[in-house]
């Protein structure tokens, strides 16, 4: 049987040229899926200097939808005015699966709703953690519940994030998978790493990278790269730096990133006269992150909330010893020998950093091995493979038992609703799911779903399907499946 490939639409408000974690996640995942023989298009909104349809490396097609223009010229809520164009793109690209990213992206939510109305399979990837108490979170959670009650599958980047999403959107945990982020380890090599892997038959086998010891008088350099916001723990950092420097005078700090809290950091430096020990670099581009990281020995990450923390993986890949707060999904990211955990409070962070510095001074940590270990743990190939399995599951190409686990069918708690490839597209079933969302919200959601469906029927009549050109395909890659498949 030939391997089945899919046409996938990644939808998110967050995509290049804007920098960020979600953006690069979508790009890397798309690239690897293309390598596996799938077709991927990305749908995002237009930027002032980037409109229309573009191609990225590997034949990834990006639709920069001129969203704002339609929005301004029509008084319709954005929710429904996007539908005709979305439908046009889905039909011309012959999309099977709509994959939305990031829970704060309204484009993604709309696409998932419209995708279900059109009878497409939908997947949602959640990249963030949310609280339950503030007004903003409550609203977002309600919206998320609305959208996710009819999504075929949800992917979270860590188990903490999964727990959070399941609670927020009242989902069945079975239909939530955990697939972490990854890093392109070639872009995050330590400073003295051999540039090319040695030839296999040169007689010496695998040359392990040289052990680099820290001399007794060498300063320990601590790197911090993060946006300087409250939730990234900048206040914690501001409070700890003077105390760490007091305890360990032969230490330097390099802080990269910008944000509203940078002024606090600068004030701290001035007050304590630490100009020669703390270097502030301002914001750095993602390509430069590696060059900043390899200048240091320890990576300090004082974040207060984090769904995954890709930057930790990047730091470990650069051969840095990681000190981080044990919040959110962070404890799942790296193995214990690469990290020192701290509680998200000042005293504990100072103690943990002290521990890390002494461990490095004693040359107890084999940081030169981190790169290869991280490389083995995190690769986009693996992420793409796992994502592909989710696609297979929702398209019904692997059996329900294989996808959801064999015990699922036997539990008494199972409500009998079939979950995999046969999640019903019938409007009445979709309405049932929406109706269960809440007393008032349920009715409102049903109304939205019905309007969306009517709009779909209208589109089918007004812009008939066979009146839409099918886009020419980029030549597909032929994927030779490896042994694991």
């Amino acid at each position: 049987m030939p391997r089945r490939t899919y046409n996938i639409a990644m939808v998110s408000d967050f995509f290049f040229p804007q920098p960020g974690g979600v953006e690069s996640h979508i790009y890397q995942l798309a690239t690897k899926l293309v390598d596996r023989g799938h077709k991927v298009v990305v749908i995002t909104h237009a930027y002032p200097d980037r409109k229309g349809i573009r191609y990225l490396t590997n034949g990834i097609k990006v639709y920069h939808v001129p969203f704002a223009i339609i929005y301004r010229s029509a008084t319709f809520p954005t929710v429904f005015s996007f539908f005709p164009m979305f439908r046009n793109i889905m039909i011309r690209e012959q999309i099977d699966i709509v994959h939305g990213h990031a829970s704060l992206s309204s484009l993604c939510h709309e696409a998932l709703l419209h995708g279900r109305s059109m009878g497409l399979r939908t997947v949602f990837t959640d990249h963030s953690l949310f609280g339950f108490a503030e007004a903003g979170s409550i609203l977002t959670n309600k919206l998320l519940k609305f959208i996710l009650s009819d999504v075929d599958h949800v992917i979270c980047v860590s188990h903490t994030s999964k727990e959070n999403t399941v609670l927020r959107a009242a989902l069945d945990p079975v239909m939530v998978s955990v697939i972490p982020n990854a890093v392109v380890s070639e872009n995050f090599r330590p400073r003295k790493y051999p540039p090319e892997p040695p030839a296999p038959n040169n007689g010496f086998g695998n040359a392990t990278p040289a052990v680099h010891h820290l001399g007794p008088n060498d300063p320990v350099v601590i790197v911090v790269i993060s946006r300087l916001f409250y939730n990234k723990g900048t206040d914690l950092l501001t409070a700890s730096i003077p105390r760490i420097l007091e305890n360990h005078p032969n230490t330097r700090f390099i802080i990269a990133g910008s944000g509203p809290k940078s002024i606090d950091l600068e004030q701290m430096i001035e007050q304590n006269v630490l100009q020669d020990k703390v270097e502030m670099l301002g914001s750095v581009r993602h390509e430069q992150v590696r060059d900043v990281m390899v200048r240091g020995h320890i990576y300090l990450h004082p974040s207060l909330t984090e769904a995954f923390g890709t930057v930790l993986v990047e730091a470990a890949s650069c051969g840095l010893y990681v000190v981080c707060t044990a919040v959110g999904g962070i404890p799942e990211v790296l193995p214990g020998h690469m990290t020192v955990f701290a509680k998200p409070e000042e005293d504990d962070l100072v103690v943990a950093t002290g521990k890390a510095i002494s461990a490095l001074r004693a040359n107890k940590v084999r940081t030169e091995k981190f790169h290869d270990q991280v490389k083995a743990m995190y690769s986009w190939d693996n992420i793409a493979k796992r994502t592909e399995r989710v696609y297979k599951g929702i398209m019904g190409d692997i059996t329900e038992a294989e996808f959801y686990g064999y015990d699922v069918g036997n539990t008494a708690a199972w409500n009998g609703e079939s979950h995999s490839g046969v999640r019903s597209f019938a409007l009445i079933d979709r309405l049932k799911r929406y109706y269960g969302c809440g007393v008032w919200a349920g009715k409102l959601f049903c109304l939205c779903a019905v309007i969306d469906y009517l709009l779909f029927v209208f589109c089918e009549w007004f812009w008939p399907r066979d009146g839409i050109d099918i886009a020419r395909e980029w030549p597909r890659k032929i994927y030779h499946s490896d042994d694991d498949d």
């Binding site: 229309g52 349809i53 339609i70 046009n88 066979d466 009146g467 020419r472």
Partner: protein
């Protein structure tokens, strides 16, 4: 029924010339279709005359008394107007309707009917490629009237643009063509293929392009692929028909110097282009062959 799915016709008058025509006119009209077209044409003439008559009656009956007393309104003495309106059965009927119906309903209705009467049923766009000379684009105007006007204008202009009433043409000499681009663009609520000719020395057009691409289009604006033919068949037909032409089009691509170029859109698929941002639907002709 009256229109067919857009189809491509390639004509090669000489070994160095190729003309691509995309049209919704039925390629081989059946007898029924011919009869229908004649019928619809007649109906349109009657509709136009009727609407004109009603407007005329409305204008005459609601004319102010002072204007009424002036003779020679519209080169005719008042008596002749009287005769036109009240001397014939048709005129009496029109005057009757005009007197009863309120002006605010009558006038827009008549204008709408007039528009329907002169609106073109078929759309046709042409791209003429002349090796060593350049390319010429032509598309049908929105209404029949504009076609006639264009024809009259071109006759007066010494025949340089003579096109037999087919609408305005634009000739782009080879030396002015900097580049020919085929891409997709957002057009109204959808995405379409476009053929863009980058013309030297046309300032400011680059800015217009994205806006034009985002402008909404009318119900059946442009040659959107109509129903009837399956996409695959259609695509194959394009491919077969224009396979030979691709090389020629490529030949006209000037060396790329992207320093300061301006895009003169030779057209987005739109039968009534505005200003110089004209585009032609022949985009699909070439697009499907690269």
């Amino acid at each position: 029924m009256l229109t067919a799915a857009p189809h491509l016709h390639v004509r090669r008058p000489s070994p160095t010339t190729a003309e691509f025509t995309v049209s919704t006119y039925p390629p081989h009209p059946t007898l029924t279709q011919r009869l229908l077209l004649v019928l619809v044409g007649t109906l349109r003439v009657v509709l136009a005359l009727g609407a004109g008559m009603l407007l005329y009656a409305a204008w005459w009956t609601q004319l102010s008394p002072s204007a009424y007393e002036q003779s020679n309104i519209w080169l005719l003495p008042a008596a002749q107007h009287e005769f036109l309106l009240y001397g014939t059965a048709l005129g009496r009927g029109a005057a009757d309707v005009a007197a009863r119906a309120p002006a605010w309903a009558l006038v827009p209705l008549c204008l709408g009917a007039l528009y329907a009467a002169v609106k073109r049923i078929h759309v046709e766009e042409r791209l003429l490629v002349l090796r060593g000379l350049g390319i010429q684009t032509r598309s049908t105007p929105a209404t029949v009237l504009l076609g006639w006007l264009g024809w009259l204008g071109s006759r007066g202009g010494g025949g340089a643009n003579n096109n037999g009433g087919g609408g305005p043409t634009r000739f782009i000499p080879t030396e002015k063509i900097r580049d020919v681009l085929i891409n997709e663009a957002f057009w109204g609520f959808g995405v379409r293929y476009i053929l863009v000719v980058v013309v030297e020395g046309e300032e400011g057009a680059r800015r217009r392009l994205p806006e034009a691409a985002a402008a909404p289009r009318g119900r059946r604006g442009g040659l959107a692929w109509a129903k009837g033919v399956s996409v695959r068949r259609r695509r194959d037909r394009w491919r077969r028909a224009a396979a030979g032409e691709e090389a020629e089009v490529q030949g006209y691509q000037a060396t790329l110097d992207r320093g300061r170029q301006d895009v003169a859109g030779v057209g987005y698929g739109r039968e009534r282009g505005r200003g110089s941002g004209r585009v032609m639907t022949s985009r699909n002709v070439i697009t499907n062959n690269i």
